[in-house]
Symmetry: D2
Subunit: 338 residues, 4 copies
């Protein structure tokens, strides 16, 4: 932490600052400039973090600037090798691009089987589908709950696809883990810290979506919640952030892929369906995501988007999905991936 003193700060003001640093068991260096003095605080970053918010209240202090991030387990600094997560034999973050595809919501066995057959044909290794749907309005379709989970497992097994599905209730870890191979934390729950801790106490791999307006730092801190609770199998998912632009549903932030690769060792998946909200944009953004260095894609595919119970406007038809996969594979090859 750097503490910037005001130009007119007195010796007494400075003494008070030093005293506070020392009482916390930390040390400091002073940079005395012509107009102002700057105090560099040195020591354990958790302790530094704990006093940071109180420094700017002291008389004579202009501001306190954070220098280091609080997360540790997710940081590449202490774990330079990229993490590879094994999900029933498939290695996420490994040589092969992970493809997770399927309908937004599980609606029926028929719909799910049709979707699964198609995404398998297109080359997906994972079947995605929601059994619990967090919806903006309480009057929208909320998912089939355990019935949906059962369908996912049964259809996943039939087509040899791993199952990715969202968990929304911290009491459901055991239930969802019984059926799913990967537990998804949705964007709206990215800072539902109790839920993060609950999946962190489990062992199932976690797909942590970025919050609607989460900074990269907050997102990595959310991953730290899961990892610090014991579960190291965390993959991140960029799914678009909220901006002022209204043509797209969200603004897909592909620079987050590069940022995550720089700051962390965790694998990163991109969701061009939610990221844009428009099926017409899924194909170009899927290509771009892989070119940016993503470890995988999660894409909404619905056999009949025009009757989907949710997110029809961003779901690909099976035909468009196959066309997208054909192009994505070519980009993946350039990137040294299968």
């Amino acid at each position: 932490m750097i503490i910037v003193m005001k130009p007119g700060a007195t010796e007494e003001n400075l003494s008070r600052v030093k005293e506070k640093i020392e009482r916390a068991g930390l040390s400091y260096h002073l940079s005395v400039g012509e107009n102002r003095t700057i105090v560099g605080v040195i020591g354990d970053k958790k302790i530094i973090g704990s006093i940071e918010e109180n420094m700017s209240v002291l008389d004579g202090v202009e501001k306190a600037v954070r220098i280091t991030e609080k997360y540790k387990l997710v940081s590449r600094e202490f774990h330079p090798e990229p993490t590879v997560i094994d999900v029933r034999g498939f290695k996420i973050g490994g040589e092969e691009l992970a493809i997770m595809a399927g309908p937004c919501a599980v609606e029926s066995m028929e719909q799910l089987r049709e979707a699964a057959a198609e995404v398998k044909k297109g080359g997906a290794q994972f079947l995605r589908g929601g059994a619990f749907k967090p919806r903006t309005s309480p009057y929208d379709f909320q998912g089939l709950a355990e019935d949906g989970l059962k369908m996912l497992r049964s259809v996943g097994d039939e087509f040899d696809l791993r199952v990715v599905t969202e968990i929304v209730d911290l009491n459901d870890v055991e239930l969802v883990s019984k059926y799913a191979d990967v537990l998804q934390i949705g964007a709206r729950n990215m800072q539902n810290f109790r839920l993060l801790q609950a999946v962190g106490h489990g062992t199932k791999p976690v797909l942590l979506k970025r919050g609607l307006s989460a900074t990269i730092s907050e997102w990595l801190n959310a991953a730290e919640y899961v990892m610090s609770a014991g579960n190291e199998n965390v993959m991140l998912c960029e799914r678009g952030i909220r901006t002022y632009e209204t043509f797209t549903r969200n603004t897909l932030d592909l620079s987050a892929v590069a940022a995550v690769k720089e700051l962390s060792h965790l694998p990163i998946i991109v969701d061009p369906s939610h990221g844009t909200g428009r099926w017409q944009m899924v194909q170009p953004m899927a290509r771009a995501a892989v070119a940016a260095g993503a470890d995988g894609l999660i894409i909404e595919v619905h056999p009949h988007p025009e009757v989907a119970l949710s997110d029809g406007d961003q779901s690909l038809t099976p035909k468009n999905f196959r066309a997208t996969m054909d192009e994505v594979r070519k980009i993946a090859a350039i990137m040294g991936r299968k």
Copy 2:
């Protein structure tokens, strides 16, 4: 819903749209312009909402525009009178301005008693304080849990202050309700729909903070979750939204006060502490909030902000709190409030 057809849409495209509307049990009117046809869909708004996302997938459709909001119970349209919520004799949304004040986090009996004595003196009717603290980093102070709740109740009773505190775990409704008079849902949990439903099944008044990047529409839909589960005692809390500006921690959106008064009958409280993140700004923003029409304020007050375990930089000292209240009361008088 309005469906805008593309300029080159064929008769067949249009038939497909009409068919889909009729099969959902809805009706429509056509506006045939020179370049494009527009379809106005008429009928139950829940059904309209359910097919909206699928219309833009149909060939020949340019876009589908939502016309009406999905929320109903929170809407002023069907409930023109403002709601007044009685919390142990104090009427929120009534003639008197509600003042909720206290430390960000409960730290000890001593700190809480000192804070309570001061906020009581300043004119607060409610004591606020967190026993469960949702923090960006897992390594930051997370609150005293049930011990904190007990202190809140005991100190609240001692100083005759109603207790407002945050609930973060859907399993804690009974526990927190035992000690608190108002259950606060924090910004990060505004779309934690399970938690909303859990407090909706209870009877304790709920203070629903606006999400960090929630639209007013999403916020009102979140309130609809609570109300549609049975609990009608909901008050909203504007606490700043996330923008590109970095001088303030958040951008306090006071136009949301006017918007809520126009769209809903629920009371609205403003939090200038989180809304700005800088104690220097709490006083002017508290005045402005009341002038904008807020029904109350929630303000962080700490006897010694420089040693607070969280949010020290946005907490008022008791002295500043009293000065703020003196000014606020004058504005409140102008607004016809006590």
Copy 3:
């Protein structure tokens, strides 16, 4: 500037950094922590600013953090007294609240005279109106140009109102100055640096609107362009910033009023018309702006908003304007203003 070295930075990396600082004629202090070294750079802030962007390119450097702002003339640090600007006898930033009101665009003598009569009656000291209108589309009404300026002057004189109008072309400084008492720089031109310099070379007071997504720092730097060119009569105008919220046209950032008062000595005016884009919100936001500490208001008033050539949806009728002024005056009195 603070330079944060990477944990693994070598002695050679550090030497390179020191060398670069010294060659620029600056000096430094080192804070050597367990994990990383931090370099505090000391010296002239203009020189520091000039090398800042190059430091993070050096090997071993993690980031360079700016500590001080670049603006100087607008800063309260070196000019603690608030600036009062005299516009033909009216003192902006003085005891009396400045009220600037009138139609968005000058449309005709008849419209302007009617508007002027009404705003005068409501208590305005300034008549606002656009003769040059910057519009998103080239097909929208662009203003009456010099004819509009003449009408403004003539009507202003008739009703004894000072004239505020926008300038959009750097070649028009002389022309607009001939007719207007205050030159307005619109939000879209806040970083049109040539225009800023052009009005900076003149002597007419300047009303500098905040850009649609300008930070407070960028806005004050824009004011520095005007002042450093020689014109010290600058007042700032908060008119709403761009956020993700769509219910309002912009998000009026009233905390900017408090921020400007803290950082600068320049007067600040608030525009609740553009700031919200909805006439229903102008009254509550006008009250709130004054309560936040604004030195004045600029409000769109049109005798017949339903036929206005621009911004009808955010213009007050004369009747609503008078009602707004009645309330605003009560708040102003509390704030110690006339």
Copy 4:
């Protein structure tokens, strides 16, 4: 335009709306629902645009919703074929990817020649460099003006590179056109409508950067300003938008590439240097941009970024530029480009 009446709107309210539409020479269709009536307005879109803002002021009107965009010349609707712009023999929007590279600012002949030699070697067909630099602070380096232009022309000719440079003053069209092959309009001037018209009256191709917080619609309307003034040689440039994220300088919005391809026939170039503000991210984002379908890239390359007078932190070294080009070419090949 769609006009949504309030649930309680009277017959008289509706008559007033109809009257206003008819008086403007437009016609309408009514959709009478159970709760509300919706009015679809039909006719010339410029006229519709001109009354839009006034409708929501009428009693009984809830809101007016725009259906069609105002731009016409830039729209793909009326010009389905992609535009190809010939710049001295190179076809932008054609088969070959356009590469524009060079330093942020022209600093000296030596620096520029060194940079030009390197970008030529890397495969660029265009030399970029600023002679007029719009800077946030008046105290930052503002460019070499005409001397810089002369250097650009001379070095461009020496290395057979076309010259792209920014114009900031509407009086400079002739001057800059004398030296440059493409006139760049910077992000801060995207809605400097006078400047747009000035370059629109010329014939030199224009590179129009997206404003810092411009919607895609506003950007296309800005291009309409240039085209409607007579200059059809417009190319768009995505350079990152302003969001709440602070790790990157801007958020590069690659979905804008797909959006522009859908809405317009104009070519689009991507600027990953300003788009991210970090040289480490230029390479992955350059790949992603081409995979998304961009017609070209504009990249900052400086022979010695650590001594650059501006934007050193986002400039590539010649070596990194060549490595980037090697990867970009592979992606371009996949996309069917040279």
